[in-house]
Symmetry: C2
Subunit: 205 residues, 2 copies
Amino acid sequence: MNFSSKLLENAVFEFSKLPGIGQKTALRLVLHLLDQDKADVERFSTSVNKLRNEIQHCRTCLNISDHTLCDICASHKRNHQTICVVEDTRDVMAIENTNQYNGVYHVLGGLISPMDGIGPTDLEIDSLIARIRAGEVKEVIFALSATMEGDTTIFYLHKKLKDFNISISIIARGIAFGGELEYVDEITLGRSITTRIPYENTLAK
Amino acid sequence: MNFSSKLLENAVFEFSKLPGIGQKTALRLVLHLLDQDKADVERFSTSVNKLRNEIQHCRTCLNISDHTLCDICASHKRNHQTICVVEDTRDVMAIENTNQYNGVYHVLGGLISPMDGIGPTDLEIDSLIARIRAGEVKEVIFALSATMEGDTTIFYLHKKLKDFNISISIIARGIAFGGELEYVDEITLGRSITTRIPYENTLAK
Protein backbone atom coordinates (compact mmCIF):
# COMPACT_ATOMS: atom_id res chain seq x y z
CA MET A 1 0.00 0.00 0.00
CA ASN A 2 1.12 3.55 -0.72
CA PHE A 3 0.69 5.51 2.48
CA SER A 4 0.58 9.27 2.30
CA SER A 5 2.03 9.48 5.81
CA LYS A 6 4.72 7.61 7.70
CA LEU A 7 2.78 8.04 10.95
CA LEU A 8 -0.24 6.44 9.34
CA GLU A 9 1.87 3.62 7.95
CA ASN A 10 3.41 2.94 11.37
CA ALA A 11 0.05 2.78 13.10
CA VAL A 12 -1.38 0.51 10.40
CA PHE A 13 1.70 -1.71 10.67
CA GLU A 14 1.24 -2.03 14.45
CA PHE A 15 -2.45 -2.84 14.13
CA SER A 16 -1.89 -5.39 11.39
CA LYS A 17 0.29 -7.41 13.78
CA LEU A 18 -2.82 -8.21 15.81
CA PRO A 19 -4.34 -11.64 15.15
CA GLY A 20 -6.95 -11.69 12.38
CA ILE A 21 -6.33 -8.05 11.42
CA GLY A 22 -5.11 -7.58 7.85
CA GLN A 23 -3.74 -4.38 6.39
CA LYS A 24 -7.10 -3.14 5.09
CA THR A 25 -8.86 -3.71 8.40
CA ALA A 26 -5.92 -2.11 10.22
CA LEU A 27 -6.27 0.96 8.01
CA ARG A 28 -9.99 1.16 8.73
CA LEU A 29 -9.38 0.95 12.49
CA VAL A 30 -6.59 3.52 12.40
CA LEU A 31 -8.61 5.99 10.32
CA HIS A 32 -11.46 5.54 12.76
CA LEU A 33 -9.15 6.43 15.66
CA LEU A 34 -7.90 9.41 13.68
CA ASP A 35 -11.47 10.71 13.58
CA GLN A 36 -11.87 10.50 17.36
CA ASP A 37 -11.08 13.17 19.94
CA LYS A 38 -7.49 13.26 21.14
CA ALA A 39 -8.70 12.43 24.66
CA ASP A 40 -10.48 9.31 23.39
CA VAL A 41 -7.39 8.09 21.55
CA GLU A 42 -5.32 8.81 24.65
CA ARG A 43 -7.77 6.75 26.73
CA PHE A 44 -7.51 3.92 24.20
CA SER A 45 -3.73 3.75 24.25
CA THR A 46 -3.50 4.25 28.00
CA SER A 47 -5.87 1.36 28.65
CA VAL A 48 -3.59 -0.92 26.63
CA ASN A 49 -0.41 0.27 28.32
CA LYS A 50 -1.88 0.13 31.79
CA LEU A 51 -3.14 -3.38 31.18
CA ARG A 52 0.24 -4.60 30.01
CA ASN A 53 2.21 -2.89 32.77
CA GLU A 54 -0.05 -3.37 35.78
CA ILE A 55 -1.77 -6.69 35.21
CA GLN A 56 -1.00 -9.50 37.63
CA HIS A 57 -1.65 -13.20 37.76
CA CYS A 58 -3.42 -14.63 40.80
CA ARG A 59 -0.76 -16.36 42.91
CA THR A 60 -3.07 -19.35 43.43
CA CYS A 61 -4.94 -20.04 40.20
CA LEU A 62 -2.75 -17.91 37.86
CA ASN A 63 -5.76 -16.28 36.26
CA ILE A 64 -5.39 -12.67 35.11
CA SER A 65 -6.20 -10.38 38.01
CA ASP A 66 -5.78 -6.85 39.34
CA HIS A 67 -4.56 -8.24 42.66
CA THR A 68 -2.12 -10.89 43.85
CA LEU A 69 -5.14 -13.04 44.74
CA CYS A 70 -8.05 -13.07 42.30
CA ASP A 71 -11.66 -12.50 43.35
CA ILE A 72 -12.57 -16.16 42.87
CA CYS A 73 -9.69 -17.49 44.94
CA ALA A 74 -10.32 -14.85 47.59
CA SER A 75 -14.04 -15.63 47.87
CA HIS A 76 -15.35 -17.60 50.86
CA LYS A 77 -18.46 -18.49 48.89
CA ARG A 78 -16.54 -20.66 46.44
CA ASN A 79 -15.80 -24.32 47.01
CA HIS A 80 -12.02 -24.51 47.32
CA GLN A 81 -12.03 -28.32 47.32
CA THR A 82 -12.81 -28.45 43.61
CA ILE A 83 -10.35 -27.17 40.99
CA CYS A 84 -11.36 -26.74 37.38
CA VAL A 85 -8.27 -26.89 35.15
CA VAL A 86 -8.51 -24.63 32.08
CA GLU A 87 -6.24 -23.40 29.32
CA ASP A 88 -6.58 -19.64 29.71
CA THR A 89 -8.56 -16.77 31.14
CA ARG A 90 -11.15 -16.91 28.35
CA ASP A 91 -12.17 -20.37 29.52
CA VAL A 92 -12.60 -19.09 33.07
CA MET A 93 -14.87 -16.36 31.72
CA ALA A 94 -16.85 -18.84 29.61
CA ILE A 95 -17.43 -21.18 32.57
CA GLU A 96 -18.25 -18.29 34.92
CA ASN A 97 -20.87 -17.12 32.44
CA THR A 98 -22.70 -20.44 32.73
CA ASN A 99 -23.33 -19.86 36.47
CA GLN A 100 -23.05 -23.63 36.88
CA TYR A 101 -19.71 -23.89 38.67
CA ASN A 102 -18.91 -22.87 42.20
CA GLY A 103 -15.39 -24.24 42.61
CA VAL A 104 -12.07 -22.54 41.91
CA TYR A 105 -9.82 -22.66 38.84
CA HIS A 106 -6.30 -23.39 37.73
CA VAL A 107 -5.11 -21.68 34.57
CA LEU A 108 -2.47 -23.74 32.74
CA GLY A 109 -1.52 -20.96 30.36
CA GLY A 110 -1.67 -23.24 27.31
CA LEU A 111 -1.87 -26.85 26.21
CA ILE A 112 0.87 -29.38 25.53
CA SER A 113 1.62 -29.05 21.84
CA PRO A 114 4.87 -30.56 20.53
CA MET A 115 4.12 -29.03 17.10
CA ASP A 116 4.29 -25.53 18.64
CA GLY A 117 7.17 -26.48 20.92
CA ILE A 118 5.05 -26.27 24.07
CA GLY A 119 5.94 -28.96 26.59
CA PRO A 120 4.68 -29.69 30.11
CA THR A 121 7.32 -27.47 31.68
CA ASP A 122 5.94 -24.45 29.81
CA LEU A 123 2.61 -24.85 31.57
CA GLU A 124 1.53 -24.24 35.17
CA ILE A 125 1.54 -27.93 36.07
CA ASP A 126 3.92 -27.88 39.03
CA SER A 127 1.82 -25.19 40.69
CA LEU A 128 -1.30 -27.36 40.18
CA ILE A 129 0.41 -30.36 41.78
CA ALA A 130 1.57 -28.16 44.66
CA ARG A 131 -2.04 -27.04 45.26
CA ILE A 132 -3.23 -30.66 45.32
CA ARG A 133 -0.34 -31.76 47.53
CA ALA A 134 -1.35 -29.05 50.02
CA GLY A 135 -4.26 -31.37 50.83
CA GLU A 136 -7.47 -29.35 50.66
CA VAL A 137 -8.45 -30.37 47.13
CA LYS A 138 -10.91 -33.26 46.69
CA GLU A 139 -11.74 -33.02 43.00
CA VAL A 140 -10.10 -31.91 39.77
CA ILE A 141 -12.15 -31.25 36.65
CA PHE A 142 -10.39 -30.97 33.30
CA ALA A 143 -12.19 -28.40 31.15
CA LEU A 144 -9.85 -28.38 28.16
CA SER A 145 -10.60 -28.18 24.45
CA ALA A 146 -11.62 -31.44 22.77
CA THR A 147 -8.58 -31.32 20.49
CA MET A 148 -5.43 -33.35 20.10
CA GLU A 149 -3.59 -30.83 22.31
CA GLY A 150 -6.32 -30.84 24.95
CA ASP A 151 -6.42 -34.64 25.07
CA THR A 152 -2.63 -34.88 25.26
CA THR A 153 -2.59 -32.43 28.16
CA ILE A 154 -5.35 -34.33 29.99
CA PHE A 155 -3.49 -37.62 29.45
CA TYR A 156 -0.30 -36.12 30.87
CA LEU A 157 -2.03 -34.49 33.82
CA HIS A 158 -3.98 -37.62 34.64
CA LYS A 159 -0.74 -39.62 34.87
CA LYS A 160 0.68 -36.99 37.23
CA LEU A 161 -2.43 -36.78 39.43
CA LYS A 162 -3.80 -40.31 39.52
CA ASP A 163 -1.91 -41.32 42.68
CA PHE A 164 -3.38 -38.50 44.73
CA ASN A 165 -6.54 -39.33 46.66
CA ILE A 166 -8.80 -37.07 44.57
CA SER A 167 -11.56 -37.66 42.05
CA ILE A 168 -10.63 -36.67 38.50
CA SER A 169 -13.19 -35.92 35.78
CA ILE A 170 -13.42 -34.25 32.41
CA ILE A 171 -16.33 -32.13 31.19
CA ALA A 172 -18.84 -34.12 29.15
CA ARG A 173 -18.36 -34.45 25.42
CA GLY A 174 -21.14 -35.21 23.00
CA ILE A 175 -23.75 -33.55 20.89
CA ALA A 176 -24.11 -29.82 21.58
CA PHE A 177 -27.43 -28.40 22.70
CA GLY A 178 -29.61 -27.91 19.62
CA GLY A 179 -27.35 -30.13 17.50
CA GLU A 180 -29.13 -32.11 14.79
CA LEU A 181 -27.92 -35.69 14.48
CA GLU A 182 -27.43 -35.67 10.73
CA TYR A 183 -24.94 -32.79 10.95
CA VAL A 184 -22.90 -34.13 13.86
CA ASP A 185 -19.46 -35.41 12.82
CA GLU A 186 -18.80 -39.15 13.01
CA ILE A 187 -16.26 -39.06 15.83
CA THR A 188 -18.49 -37.03 18.12
CA LEU A 189 -21.52 -39.18 17.31
CA GLY A 190 -19.59 -42.44 17.69
CA ARG A 191 -18.16 -41.40 21.06
CA SER A 192 -21.47 -40.07 22.30
CA ILE A 193 -22.93 -43.57 21.75
CA THR A 194 -20.10 -45.41 23.48
CA THR A 195 -20.09 -42.95 26.39
CA ARG A 196 -23.90 -42.86 26.69
CA ILE A 197 -25.28 -41.97 30.11
CA PRO A 198 -28.34 -43.29 32.03
CA TYR A 199 -31.34 -41.13 31.22
CA GLU A 200 -32.12 -40.53 34.91
CA ASN A 201 -28.73 -38.84 35.28
CA THR A 202 -29.76 -36.13 32.83
CA LEU A 203 -32.91 -35.12 34.72
CA ALA A 204 -32.77 -32.06 36.96
CA LYS A 205 -32.64 -33.12 40.61
CA MET B 1 -18.93 -10.95 30.25
CA ASN B 2 -17.40 -11.58 33.67
CA PHE B 3 -13.92 -10.10 33.61
CA SER B 4 -11.43 -11.21 36.21
CA SER B 5 -9.70 -7.84 36.01
CA LYS B 6 -10.87 -4.25 35.70
CA LEU B 7 -7.79 -3.38 33.62
CA LEU B 8 -8.68 -6.16 31.20
CA GLU B 9 -12.28 -5.01 31.06
CA ASN B 10 -11.23 -1.42 30.31
CA ALA B 11 -8.93 -2.45 27.48
CA VAL B 12 -11.58 -4.73 25.98
CA PHE B 13 -14.13 -1.92 26.26
CA GLU B 14 -11.83 0.49 24.40
CA PHE B 15 -11.10 -2.02 21.64
CA SER B 16 -14.76 -2.92 21.22
CA LYS B 17 -15.50 0.71 20.31
CA LEU B 18 -13.56 0.21 17.08
CA PRO B 19 -15.69 -0.44 13.98
CA GLY B 20 -16.41 -4.10 13.33
CA ILE B 21 -14.79 -5.24 16.58
CA GLY B 22 -17.16 -7.03 18.95
CA GLN B 23 -16.46 -7.90 22.55
CA LYS B 24 -15.10 -11.39 21.80
CA THR B 25 -12.73 -10.12 19.11
CA ALA B 26 -11.67 -7.27 21.40
CA LEU B 27 -10.84 -9.79 24.12
CA ARG B 28 -8.78 -11.85 21.68
CA LEU B 29 -6.81 -8.77 20.56
CA VAL B 30 -6.25 -7.58 24.12
CA LEU B 31 -5.08 -11.00 25.31
CA HIS B 32 -2.72 -11.11 22.34
CA LEU B 33 -1.23 -7.76 23.38
CA LEU B 34 -0.95 -9.02 26.94
CA ASP B 35 1.28 -11.83 25.64
CA GLN B 36 3.65 -9.41 23.90
CA ASP B 37 6.74 -7.74 25.32
CA LYS B 38 6.14 -4.50 27.19
CA ALA B 39 8.23 -2.66 24.59
CA ASP B 40 6.03 -3.97 21.78
CA VAL B 41 2.85 -2.87 23.51
CA GLU B 42 4.44 0.50 24.19
CA ARG B 43 5.30 0.80 20.49
CA PHE B 44 1.73 -0.09 19.58
CA SER B 45 0.13 2.53 21.79
CA THR B 46 2.74 5.17 20.95
CA SER B 47 2.11 4.74 17.23
CA VAL B 48 -1.58 5.44 17.78
CA ASN B 49 -0.99 8.45 19.99
CA LYS B 50 1.67 9.92 17.73
CA LEU B 51 -0.58 9.50 14.71
CA ARG B 52 -3.48 11.28 16.39
CA ASN B 53 -1.36 14.09 17.82
CA GLU B 54 1.08 14.78 15.01
CA ILE B 55 -0.83 14.03 11.83
CA GLN B 56 -1.51 16.92 9.49
CA HIS B 57 -3.66 17.46 6.46
CA CYS B 58 -2.03 18.71 3.28
CA ARG B 59 -2.91 22.40 2.96
CA THR B 60 -3.67 21.94 -0.74
CA CYS B 61 -5.41 18.60 -1.24
CA LEU B 62 -6.30 17.93 2.43
CA ASN B 63 -5.03 14.39 2.30
CA ILE B 64 -3.48 12.96 5.44
CA SER B 65 0.19 13.86 5.50
CA ASP B 66 3.23 14.21 7.75
CA HIS B 67 3.91 17.68 6.34
CA THR B 68 1.90 20.80 5.59
CA LEU B 69 2.21 19.89 1.90
CA CYS B 70 1.82 16.23 0.95
CA ASP B 71 4.28 14.37 -1.25
CA ILE B 72 1.89 14.31 -4.19
CA CYS B 73 1.16 18.04 -4.09
CA ALA B 74 4.85 18.80 -3.59
CA SER B 75 5.95 16.64 -6.53
CA HIS B 76 7.03 18.31 -9.78
CA LYS B 77 6.43 15.05 -11.63
CA ARG B 78 2.69 15.21 -11.10
CA ASN B 79 0.28 16.99 -13.38
CA HIS B 80 -1.13 19.83 -11.28
CA GLN B 81 -3.69 20.75 -13.94
CA THR B 82 -5.81 17.69 -13.19
CA ILE B 83 -7.56 17.24 -9.86
CA CYS B 84 -9.13 13.94 -8.87
CA VAL B 85 -11.85 14.53 -6.27
CA VAL B 86 -12.17 11.69 -3.75
CA GLU B 87 -13.98 11.02 -0.50
CA ASP B 88 -11.08 10.12 1.78
CA THR B 89 -7.46 9.07 2.05
CA ARG B 90 -8.28 5.42 1.34
CA ASP B 91 -9.47 6.39 -2.12
CA VAL B 92 -6.21 8.23 -2.77
CA MET B 93 -4.32 5.08 -1.80
CA ALA B 94 -6.53 2.90 -3.99
CA ILE B 95 -6.02 5.14 -7.04
CA GLU B 96 -2.27 5.49 -6.38
CA ASN B 97 -2.03 1.70 -6.31
CA THR B 98 -3.35 1.50 -9.87
CA ASN B 99 -0.35 3.50 -11.20
CA GLN B 100 -2.74 4.92 -13.79
CA TYR B 101 -3.10 8.46 -12.55
CA ASN B 102 -0.53 11.22 -12.59
CA GLY B 103 -2.57 14.21 -11.49
CA VAL B 104 -3.21 15.56 -8.01
CA TYR B 105 -6.08 14.99 -5.59
CA HIS B 106 -8.65 16.80 -3.53
CA VAL B 107 -9.98 14.97 -0.47
CA LEU B 108 -13.54 16.03 0.37
CA GLY B 109 -13.56 14.35 3.77
CA GLY B 110 -16.93 12.70 3.17
CA LEU B 111 -19.96 12.69 0.91
CA ILE B 112 -23.16 14.70 1.08
CA SER B 113 -25.56 12.57 3.10
CA PRO B 114 -28.67 14.23 4.52
CA MET B 115 -29.50 10.98 6.35
CA ASP B 116 -26.27 11.31 8.36
CA GLY B 117 -26.61 15.07 8.67
CA ILE B 118 -23.65 15.76 6.37
CA GLY B 119 -24.24 18.79 4.15
CA PRO B 120 -22.01 20.54 1.58
CA THR B 121 -20.57 22.87 4.23
CA ASP B 122 -19.19 19.89 6.15
CA LEU B 123 -17.04 18.95 3.16
CA GLU B 124 -13.94 20.54 1.65
CA ILE B 125 -15.84 22.08 -1.25
CA ASP B 126 -14.90 25.75 -0.81
CA SER B 127 -11.22 24.80 -0.83
CA LEU B 128 -11.78 22.88 -4.08
CA ILE B 129 -13.45 25.89 -5.69
CA ALA B 130 -10.62 28.11 -4.46
CA ARG B 131 -8.08 25.81 -6.13
CA ILE B 132 -9.99 25.93 -9.41
CA ARG B 133 -10.49 29.68 -9.18
CA ALA B 134 -6.70 30.06 -8.81
CA GLY B 135 -6.60 29.20 -12.51
CA GLU B 136 -4.07 26.42 -13.04
CA VAL B 137 -6.61 23.58 -13.10
CA LYS B 138 -7.85 22.32 -16.49
CA GLU B 139 -9.67 19.13 -15.53
CA VAL B 140 -11.61 17.75 -12.56
CA ILE B 141 -12.30 14.02 -12.26
CA PHE B 142 -14.90 12.83 -9.78
CA ALA B 143 -13.83 9.49 -8.33
CA LEU B 144 -16.61 9.00 -5.80
CA SER B 145 -18.52 5.87 -4.79
CA ALA B 146 -21.35 4.84 -7.11
CA THR B 147 -23.89 5.29 -4.33
CA MET B 148 -26.75 7.67 -3.66
CA GLU B 149 -24.40 9.82 -1.55
CA GLY B 150 -21.67 9.80 -4.19
CA ASP B 151 -24.11 10.74 -6.94
CA THR B 152 -25.65 13.51 -4.83
CA THR B 153 -22.21 14.94 -4.14
CA ILE B 154 -21.24 14.79 -7.83
CA PHE B 155 -24.52 16.49 -8.79
CA TYR B 156 -23.89 19.28 -6.26
CA LEU B 157 -20.24 19.73 -7.23
CA HIS B 158 -21.07 19.75 -10.93
CA LYS B 159 -23.54 22.60 -10.40
CA LYS B 160 -20.86 24.55 -8.53
CA LEU B 161 -18.12 23.91 -11.09
CA LYS B 162 -19.89 23.93 -14.45
CA ASP B 163 -19.33 27.64 -15.08
CA PHE B 164 -15.56 27.34 -14.78
CA ASN B 165 -13.65 26.75 -17.99
CA ILE B 166 -12.58 23.23 -17.07
CA SER B 167 -13.44 19.75 -18.27
CA ILE B 168 -15.37 17.67 -15.75
CA SER B 169 -15.57 13.89 -15.86
CA ILE B 170 -16.46 10.99 -13.65
CA ILE B 171 -14.67 7.65 -13.51
CA ALA B 172 -16.29 5.01 -15.73
CA ARG B 173 -19.05 2.85 -14.35
CA GLY B 174 -19.98 -0.52 -15.72
CA ILE B 175 -19.16 -4.16 -15.41
CA ALA B 176 -16.10 -4.85 -13.28
CA PHE B 177 -13.14 -6.70 -14.76
CA GLY B 178 -13.90 -10.42 -14.67
CA GLY B 179 -17.59 -9.80 -14.06
CA GLU B 180 -19.94 -12.38 -15.57
CA LEU B 181 -23.00 -10.86 -17.20
CA GLU B 182 -25.56 -13.12 -15.55
CA TYR B 183 -24.45 -12.00 -12.08
CA VAL B 184 -24.32 -8.26 -12.80
CA ASP B 185 -27.16 -6.33 -11.18
CA GLU B 186 -29.82 -4.80 -13.44
CA ILE B 187 -28.98 -1.16 -12.81
CA THR B 188 -25.29 -1.61 -13.60
CA LEU B 189 -26.05 -3.69 -16.69
CA GLY B 190 -28.75 -1.29 -17.91
CA ARG B 191 -26.49 1.73 -17.48
CA SER B 192 -23.52 0.01 -19.06
CA ILE B 193 -25.63 -0.48 -22.19
CA THR B 194 -26.88 3.11 -22.35
CA THR B 195 -23.39 4.49 -21.68
CA ARG B 196 -21.65 2.08 -24.09
CA ILE B 197 -18.36 3.25 -25.57
CA PRO B 198 -16.83 2.85 -29.04
CA TYR B 199 -14.71 -0.31 -29.08
CA GLU B 200 -11.67 1.55 -30.48
CA ASN B 201 -11.62 3.69 -27.31
CA THR B 202 -10.95 0.61 -25.18
CA LEU B 203 -7.87 -0.47 -27.09
CA ALA B 204 -4.49 0.38 -25.64
CA LYS B 205 -2.92 3.22 -27.58
